[in-house]
Symmetry: C3
Subunit: 207 residues, 3 copies
């Protein structure tokens, strides 16, 4: 088993936890928890596999992924009431899942020999799509679209770091760790210190 596979496992687990927490805010039943957990957990990676024509899709080849997502859903179903703030837990778990998923997505695209622009896009997409699907389906404002809060930007910087690490000669798994580290550091700083980045502000049209 390639060590890169570990990244897919970790991102599936953490994304599934965020999906189940969002399900708990929508007060679904236990199968609803599992559905949203699985969708969030495998959404980004599935899109990546379809786009790169990697078959069978990772969770069809290895259904353990789904078992992990369902276990995470069950865990949250029985313990979420113990959390002081589910909104906060979602934000921080999502940051962790984002980081790992960006690393998984961009590493695999690089492994398949994709052009560097495609590596960046696959990284950002694998990272962002699972959470985006979760939020669109559950009718929450996507984290991706919160004003002035860097999200896709963190993912992009992480994917860039992976490319730079690769150019510097780091082996794939170390490069993936660098990528996850950079993404998480940026996103966590944004959450902890309220770091923002310049956003578009419309100015009045000239007279």
């Amino acid at each position: 088993m390639s060590p890169l596979v570990l990244l897919d496992y970790a991102s599936v687990l953490i994304f599934a936890l965020t999906g189940a927490l969002v399900a708990s805010r929508a007060q679904l039943d236990v199968v609803g928890f599992a559905f949203l957990a699985c969708l969030t957990a495998v959404g980004g990676g599935t899109t990546r596999d379809l786009l790169l024509d990697r078959h069978p899709v990772f969770w069809i080849a290895q259904p353990t992924y789904l078992a992990i997502a369902c276990a995470a859903a069950l865990l949250v179903f029985f313990t979420a009431h113990r959390l002081e703030s589910r909104a906060k837990a979602i934000l921080w778990l999502d940051a962790a899942a984002l980081s790992v998923a960006v690393a998984a997505g961009s590493s695999i695209a690089k492994d398949e020999g994709a052009a560097w622009g495609v590596v960046l896009v696959m990284g950002v997409m694998t990272g962002c799509l699972g959470g985006l699907m979760r939020d669109v389906v559950a009718n929450e404002v996507p984290l991706l679209l919160k004003q002035g809060e860097p999200y896709a930007t963190c993912a992009l910087c992480g994917a860039l770091a992976l490319l730079v690490a690769g150019w510097l000669g780091l082996p794939p798994f170390s490069a993936a760790l660098v990528c996850a580290g950079v993404t998480f550091a940026l996103r966590a700083s944004a959450l902890a210190f309220g770091w923002g980045i310049p956003v578009y502000k419309s100015r009045p049209p000239r007279a």
Copy 2:
């Protein structure tokens, strides 16, 4: 023609009717009816085919499916005003479509030799995704996410029934019928008697 293909035809027809009924609530024009009918009708099955790498996708191989969905859209366009309650018609037709689509999705995944976990997921997904796309695009609250109303749960029980029927030695088409029957019986009971299942209720955090 395999008898399993009949399930695809039936689910396309019934899902197209629900899509067109939702279009009538959004007061679209006739092409809008056809668009939403086709999206709902083939959405779940298309995702299944892409994930299982079955090409050509069923409605590209056999465009009759689209003709059926468009005919259903036309029928609804000219007759929906005769219904006493479109909301009720949507609920019941959706229950029927869900049942048939779960049977179609899980049978085909089983036929392709997928692991049992994947058969369950494909069944639930083929059943739920068409309606989910319809509701997300038309900006309605997804049936899947209505609190305390079993939806994905019915689909899951149906797919489980298919597996059990297979283990008991039933031929594929009979197993598919058992699956559709179980799904519909559960969903219909939920609609008719207001059956609910335990949902997640947040309790106040401990002091």
Copy 3:
């Protein structure tokens, strides 16, 4: 390079502009602009390629597309405040992008030897899906679903025109131009003169 490829380039550029303009209404940061621009630009064509099993997907084979979309996002990020009405600019650019994308989608499906029903659907889908994804993700009312405003209808007429042009013996690129012309003429007339088409109106149930 086949001249049909030019259509893909043009539709990517124009759709990216609309995606970035929608991002400016949501006041995202510059990476958010790029994300929404890329999603809108390649959403329809990617779905077309996945459904027709054309690999590598067009923007993976040729990452220039993403560069174009990102350049468009940057351009809008720095100049959108100069527009008098962004809503109007989105509507008209979307009309242009729709026309070109319908031509690209239906030409390529025809080129692959798809049945005429599939050519129509691929044309409408390639045209409508990018904008639909943009609007669903950005939480705007999809242009596709505005009451009484023809949208999918224009796309369908354009795709029909392509088929007719092909039957009359026109070469593929000319047929594509006819298709884009018809689609744009219809959509522009609808926008300029407020042309509507008959929509579904519910009548009271009979007593």
